[in-house]
Symmetry: C2
Subunit: 367 residues, 2 copies
């Protein structure tokens, strides 16, 4: 069942956060939403962390006539995986994003102007430090679980290594310990598309640089799908409106990428896209350590990893590497490789498949 | 041994070619090179067909001080796979390209101006029809072999289905019967990068649109490599010149893509890039037929297929599909899946691995 109507929330911390880069950022606003009720022992809170272009709007609708519910609605609500009759579910827009939290598109209170490229480079660790402020503010000492996919999975991992005492478990979907050279290269060409757009103006645009941002999204979109899922959806169908021998004639898959790319421009800020890509590239679970084993030495919470066979952006071997490192340290860890043709997007789409597995894990943690 | 110094050749046919699109194109100039000597029986000619950005300059050097030899020098010369003491090797720049053959960057004799986008859309079949003019001009009734990789492999296939009496064999490396939706999507974003460049001006540029074309190449470049080869070459090394937390700081892999992308602008025409991408997208070995089996019914020459395990642009399953179709028709066919970490580029790099296999095949054909 859906959680129904939900409320947008926001909090501003008048502290200054020392970022991984050494720079100082503050005040810090975080947009967030909550679903369900915190129990008296404050022991039933689950933090869901979002990916590159996600927001705090995890589930439900803000208004009855919203065309779509939140981005991972299928797993949140009474009777669903994150059962709001049992759990208090929290989702916050990450630091550096453009959906209500402090980011490059926010006004810098010192200048009265948008930060744009004067915004400091943010890391996943910085995002988690900001989340920790929110969790403390909500009066939660220890989260029952942190759960996320892709960049959300990286945040769950950072909670496990940086705030081990504050979580009872972590669920990491479709996330690597660090981006491969290929994944960085794919982010690089996506960035390049924005840099090439003359309306981007080194970040000082008034209107989102649409052609560059749409193309960036198009490139990203390909990496979220798979060879098989694209064949299943489009195969080689040619747009009915176009002639096969027209220079500008398009295959359906091309039209789809264009359509979705230009739609994306209406909902996501170009500079933010670049800052998120940077955070992804810089992410390394072993940041500041010699090895994954050294980084994972601090972990106390059991971690459940899920990977999907057709995910070529963050391939399963990368997830497996982390599970093995934890296992070698004798830490409680689970690794599940799930068969799916949906590519990286499987973590958003295959919830019927993974829900029973994650439910089992959460129930074990609760006991 | 290298073939040494070689000569650029060119021929203009004052005929008009009826293209697959129904449009008429002529006169037609083809740039070509030859290596070795045609024997008295005219039975030792091998045509090598090139890929997307290739040229007629297959092997050797034009001048002693050329920094590099031709694009597939390693397989051509005395003692090499295509032994010029035995074979007469021919390579021509495809119709529609920008290395001396008639293409969008050529002058339209009717207007005295560059064709640009008034150039008709070209298919791989059209390229092969133009090559057939050249082969006839050289007095060759029947080629001992047509050999090519990627788009070159597609041309070899077209020779096998369209001119079965004119070839004794075909060798097809790293080529599919048709591009998958994913491969089309990757071409689509590469095209999009050029379309977005304001200096492209719908093809009416004076100077190559460099930012767009460099990015197009960057996207393509990623698809020619593999996850493993990129990790081996770059891993996560950060450019020594850049700060990790600089907004514009680059990983080595990113710097490499930029560097090679901008170099590419000096050597390849943007409109030509678009026409070649179009030809690739439209390519279908079963063009005009109901099935691959129907298309392959005309084949008489033995075909040798080679695919490489890490090629994710034109994955081995696509090559295998063709081998199976020919086998089901009782046609002589060989399929070799070669282990390689080099991705699609393996066909250019792994000649030590495939040379003995192809040599065996050619020797069998000769007997």
């Amino acid at each position: 069942m859906s959680v129904g109507l939900v409320e947008k929330k926001s909090i501003t911390f008048n502290t200054e956060l020392r970022l991984e880069s050494g720079r100082i950022l503050g005040p810090i606003t975080l947009a967030f939403e909550t679903y369900g009720e915190l129990d008296l022992k404050r022991s039933n809170a689950i933090l869901v962390t979002h990916a590159w272009t996600g927001s705090a709007h995890l589930a439900g609708k803000h208004q009855e006539d919203d065309p779509k519910p939140g981005w991972w609605d299928g797993i949140v609500g009474p009777g669903r995986l994150l059962d709001t009759d049992r759990y208090f579910v929290i989702c916050s827009n990450v630091l550096g994003s453009c959906y209500g939290s402090t980011g490059p598109a926010s006004i810098n209170p010192r200048t009265g102007k948008k930060y744009n490229l004067s915004f400091p480079v943010i890391t996943v660790r910085d995002m988690v430090r900001a989340q920790e402020l929110l969790i403390s503010h909500l009066g939660i000492e220890r989260l029952l679980a942190v759960l996320g996919g892709s960049m959300g999975g990286m945040q769950a991992l950072e909670w496990a290594t940086q705030f081990p005492a504050r979580i009872a478990s972590a669920v990491v979907l479709a996330a690597p310990a660090r981006l491969s050279a290929q994944a960085i290269a794919l982010n690089a060409v996506a960035r390049w598309a924005i840099f090439n757009d003359p309306t981007w103006k080194k970040g000082e645009y008034r209107k989102n640089p649409k052609d560059g941002l749409a193309l960036s999204r198009g490139i990203g979109h390909i990496t979220f799908l798979s060879d098989k899922s694209m064949t299943a959806k489009f195969d080689r169908r040619f747009s009915a409106r176009d002639g096969q021998f027209d220079f500008f004639g398009q295959f359906e898959v091309e039209r789809y990428l264009f359509y979705n790319g230009y739609n994306f421009v209406d909902r996501f800020d170009a500079n933010t896209f670049l800052y998120m890509a940077k955070a992804l590239d810089l992410y390394d679970a072993a940041w500041g350590c010699e090895s994954l084993e050294e980084a994972f030495a601090s972990v106390t919470a059991p971690i459940q990893f899920l990977a999907f066979t057709s995910d070529w952006l963050y391939p399963p071997y990368q997830t497996e590497e982390m599970a093995l490192a934890l296992q070698s340290l004798g830490k409680p860890v689970e690794y599940h490789l799930l068969e799916s043709d949906y590519g990286h997007d499987a973590f958003l789409l295959e919830h019927d498949t993974f829900a029973p597995i994650v439910r089992n894990f959460l129930e074990t943690v609760e006991r």
